[in-house]
């Protein structure tokens, strides 16, 4: 197929209904990514806190967090997806493919994000926590006022890199029949449209979704931590 043939096909590829299909698929990709990131952040933080806890009462939760993170970080996303897909059938749950994909992405994202957050929390010196403790800061006050603000500069760069990778991983949800961007691309190519044009459009849509996230990450990094500490290392005399 020549370049002029490709150009000639453009109007037929980007019809209203095909654009609608791609738009819908892009929204599904965005939903999977955003849901996975948000759930990952919330539960990842809770699991990271559980893993760092020394309270005897939280020991079962600590053990659960350890096993959860250590196993799920080492399992390919596709395997987790298939496990939930077939597991739900075996257990008799009638779940939509999108629901299964949302659960799977959240489960995987929680494991990865938890480990990134734990490393960030560990980077804050114990002496900072001790200073807060002797001034009667409670656990959540220490976390909110002292630990998290100092951990963010360590947490943010890897977490946003992970989120960008994670958006690409959501493509695997197509294996469970979810109509996301890759699946939409496949549908359009089976209709006889040029795979080059279709997947070129899919590529652009992935970029449109992931680029703002990467920019947000850079913005937060500079705002929340790195810029302040790199502004002046020398003592102000």
């Amino acid at each position: 197929m020549s370049f002029s043939d490709l150009l000639g096909q453009l109007p037929r590829v980007f019809t209203y209904y095909n654009l609608l299909l791609l738009g819908q698929a892009a929204l599904t990709t965005l939903l999977l990514s955003a849901f996975g990131c948000i759930v990952g952040l919330v539960f990842g933080l809770l699991l990271a806190l559980a893993r760092r806890s020394h309270a005897r009462l939280l020991l079962p939760l600590k053990a659960f967090a350890f096993i959860y993170v250590e196993i799920l970080r080492r399992v390919p996303f596709l395997v987790t997806l298939m496990l939930f897909f077939f597991g739900s059938q075996v257990l008799g749950f009638d779940l939509a493919p999108l629901t299964i994909a949302l659960i799977s992405t959240s489960v995987i994202s929680t494991a990865f994000v938890s480990e990134i957050i734990r490393a960030g929390l560990d980077a804050v010196k114990q002496s900072q926590i001790e200073a807060a403790t002797v001034m009667n800061f409670g656990f959540w006050q220490t976390l909110r006022l002292v630990v998290l603000p100092q951990a963010w500069p360590v947490i943010l760069p890897p977490i946003f890199s992970y989120f960008v990778l994670f958006i690409k991983d959501t493509a695997l949800a197509s294996q469970a029949g979810v109509l996301e961007l890759v699946q939409a691309g496949r549908i359009l190519t089976t209709k006889g449209f040029s795979a080059f044009i279709v997947f070129g459009a899919v590529l652009l849509l992935y970029f449109v979704i992931s680029y703002p996230l990467a920019r947000l990450g850079s913005h937060l990094e500079s705002r929340l931590g790195v810029s302040r500490h790199s502004r002046a290392r020398r003592p102000i005399s």
Binding site: M135, N136, H229
Partner: protein
């Protein structure tokens, strides 16, 4: 006695660091702890604050015994104490002023305006009135330590614990911090000081306690400890540091 420590023992895992400490301090008194490294001086301060829960023995403040296993009792005790650490431990994410006011405002619930006014005044008195918006990593060690002292004072403690506050500083910065502590001494704040600055200890303390192997071996006025120690171990220590 205001701060009364009886038979206090504490250990780091298998290592017995405090082995039956007896020490009493009156209100407004300044007592300094001296002794060789590893004698348990800093550990004693950590044990009193509950950062290292004591194994046995009792600590009372103003006649109220601290139950280190009871969170409420420990919180009550900590609200009467403040500690200044050797490594300052200022919160790196907060400015000088925020470091000084965060606990009184967020934990004690005092008015921000009132605490800020006090903090500004104290910071000005220790020569840091122009550093209110600086972050700890923009300050020298001596400046950070003075901020740490101001932060402790903003808590209005009944007892101030100072843990080797000059040992992480360059020699030229030491006097800045010692002058600040002298200012406090003049205001009759009860203090328990761990220090290796012997001339400062002699100058500022009402009593000096010599510690070795996790025990207080001798306690008395600075003149007794430095000029006429009663215990051989104290005498050896004083002889050794005098030769340096």
């Amino acid at each position: 006695m205001y701060l009364d420590i009886r038979g206090l023992a504490a250990r780091y895992h298998e290592l017995q660091v405090l082995d039956g400490i007896d020490l009493s301090i009156s209100r407004g008194e300044i007592v300094s702890l001296i002794g060789p490294s590893g004698s348990g001086k800093s550990t004693l301060l950590r044990a009193v604050t509950g950062l290292l829960p004591p194994e046995r023995g009792t600590v009372s403040i103003g006649g109220e015994e601290i139950d280190y296993k009871d969170r409420r009792s420990l919180r009550a005790a900590r609200s009467r104490l403040a500690i200044v650490f050797q490594q300052y431990n200022l919160f790196g994410n907060m400015t000088v002023l925020q470091n000084a006011v965060v606990a009184p405002v967020k934990i004690r619930g005092r008015s921000r305006a009132e605490v800020e006014a006090e903090a500004r005044d104290l910071l000005a008195r220790v020569g840091l009135g122009d550093k209110l918006d600086a972050y700890p990593d923009q300050l020298s060690g001596g400046q950070q330590q003075r901020v740490a002292i101001v932060r402790a004072l903003c808590l209005k403690p009944e007892i101030l614990l100072l843990d080797e506050v000059t040992s992480a500083l360059d020699p030229e910065r030491v006097s800045e911090v010692l002058d600040t502590i002298r200012l406090l001494a003049a205001e009759h704040i009860t203090m328990l000081i761990v220090s290796h600055e012997m001339s400062f200890v002699r100058d500022v303390s009402h009593r000096v306690a010599f510690m070795a192997e996790g025990r207080v071996l001798e306690i008395g006025p600075p003149e007794q400890i430095f000029d006429a120690p009663q215990v051989q171990r104290t005498r050896d220590f004083i002889d050794k540091i005098s030769r340096k």
